[in-house]
């Protein structure tokens, strides 16, 4: 099938019945892996990502250590059963690239200079993939980092936006991801109003791009509230 052959938008509704600017159901669980320093599970509809954080810990081999600052390592990997056709568990070109993209989206938020010579490891495991896995991964790792007590400027929130049939849409699912005209991953620190990731595929006009960014920003604000609620919930004492 080529792009545009699937009917993605009919009578103002998308294939899963959502309106163009509607997000999927978001589910956030914190502290799901007890042996990690911090962990979180975030689900956007059927996309489900598990993030765990270890560190700061001493970095070996020693020649990788930075004297002035710590370093951040991310590993994004998709479980073999996460997609329709079995995915080889070995890191492929896409996983390696996404690991780097996620690291670059998180790095501006972390005070790495507070712990020189060490490393913070973020492991992301995609349990179920249905579009927008990288942004779901960023949301999960931001929560996991906060729970691990890593000093941060702000939480990082992310979402995806795109365009189908000349309509701008929010939070793409798997099908939309494959056949959309435009697909943009977006991450920001809502408290500071700073964008940490902006990646796009396809062609848009200047006005459309501005509108896409506005849409993504308002969605990130919503996700920010959800993240904060999830963290506050953890420290509530049930009496």
């Amino acid at each position: 099938m080529k792009r545009g052959e699937v009917k993605l938008l009919a009578e103002g509704k998308r294939i899963d019945g959502r309106k163009p600017e509607e997000m999927r159901n978001v589910e956030i669980k914190v502290d799901v892996i007890s042996r990690s320093d911090g962990s979180a599970e975030v689900a956007f509809g059927r996309t489900r990502v598990l993030a765990s954080v270890y560190g700061p810990r001493t970095l070996y081999p020693k020649y990788l250590q930075e004297h002035e600052t710590g370093i951040l390592r991310c590993r994004y990997s998709m479980a073999p059963f996460s997609v329709d056709e079995r995915k080889s568990p070995a890191p492929d070109r896409r996983s390696i690239e996404l690991s780097k993209v996620i690291r670059l989206a998180l790095e501006p938020a972390i005070f790495l200079e507070d712990f020189p010579k060490t490393v913070v490891d973020v492991y992301l495991e995609v349990i179920e993939a249905d579009g927008s896995t990288r942004v779901t991964g960023i949301n999960a790792s931001s929560l996991a980092l906060a729970l691990a007590g890593i000093p941060m400027r702000d939480l990082v929130c992310a979402c995806s936006v795109g365009k189908i049939d000349n309509t701008l849409i929010l939070d793409l699912n798997g099908k939309e991801d494959n056949y959309s005209e435009v697909d943009m991953a977006f991450a920001m620190m809502p408290g500071k109003g700073k964008i940490t990731l902006l990646q796009m595929d396809g062609l848009v006009t200047k006005e459309e791009l501005k509108k896409l960014i506005e849409m993504a920003k308002s969605a990130c604000e919503k996700i920010y509230e959800m993240q904060k609620n999830a963290l506050r919930e953890k420290y509530k004492v049930s009496e």
């Binding site: 320093d37 700061p56 001493t58 010579k117 906060a146 007590g149 941060m152």
Partner: protein, 223 residues
């Protein structure tokens, strides 16, 4: 705000205007405003702003008394694991009073690998090279007992105001307990399982008010 709980701040949350206040732990300043770096309990006074973190690794500070495990014996000193991303060094001169001729003596007779010590942090260099010393009134080798690890930021809650919490546990369980600032707790005594239980309870519910009463109730109930 619920009365039973202390207010909690999250990373990036606005705390107050700086207005000449000192920047304490776990906070940062941006355009005259002070924000939190971590999830924790804020402490804002007229002179200082800081946040007590609810999780995180131990970062060594000069003067802290910590419990460490010897992980390596060198020619003139020992490497000590202090439950931190950084390994500390205990020089021979800071450990032994008498003169030791390193060319003749095997210094593992003083401290050997896997032995546990209570020591003081002597020096933290900018690049996190850490030295510890045994030249301290409380410093000693810890023989026997068990070790419990908790989140280092919760150590003040385990000790309590003026040592109220730790004395309570000591009296109720008749255990010998030593608390290191690095979150390592050494317990020796017959009733140590109860003491461990109490400490784990404090770690789990460290952010509620009236914790001392709750622990006292728990320790009295089980008699």
């Amino acid at each position: 705000m619920n009365e039973k709980e202390r207010p909690i701040v999250l990373p990036g949350e606005f705390l107050c205007q700086r207005e000449g206040k000192k920047i304490g732990d776990n906070v940062y300043e941006e355009d005259g405003k002070v924000f939190s770096k971590v999830i924790g309990i804020p402490k804002i006074t007229d002179s200082e702003v800081s946040v007590i973190a609810l999780s995180g690794k131990y970062m060594p500070k000069v003067g802290d008394r910590v419990i460490g495990t010897i992980i390596g014996v060198e020619v003139a000193g020992w490497f000590v694991d202090i439950n931190s991303p950084y390994v500390a060094f205990l020089p021979l001169g800071e450990a032994v009073e008498e003169f030791v001729d390193t060319s003749r003596v095997d210094i593992s007779k003083y401290y050997d690998v896997n032995e546990v010590i209570f020591c003081r942090i002597l020096k933290v260099a900018k690049n996190k090279i850490i030295q510890v010393t045994m030249h301290d009134l409380q410093a000693k080798k810890l023989v026997g007992g068990v070790i419990v690890k908790i989140t280092p930021s919760k150590v003040p809650r385990v000790i309590g105001k003026g040592g109220s919490m730790i004395n309570l546990i000591k009296n109720k369980t008749n255990c010998e307990i030593l608390v290191g600032q690095n979150g390592v707790i050494w317990i020796k005594g017959k009733d140590k399982s109860k003491a461990i239980e109490a400490i784990l309870l404090i770690e789990k519910e460290s952010h509620i008010i009236g914790l001392t009463e709750k622990v006292e109730k728990m320790l009295s109930e089980e008699k």
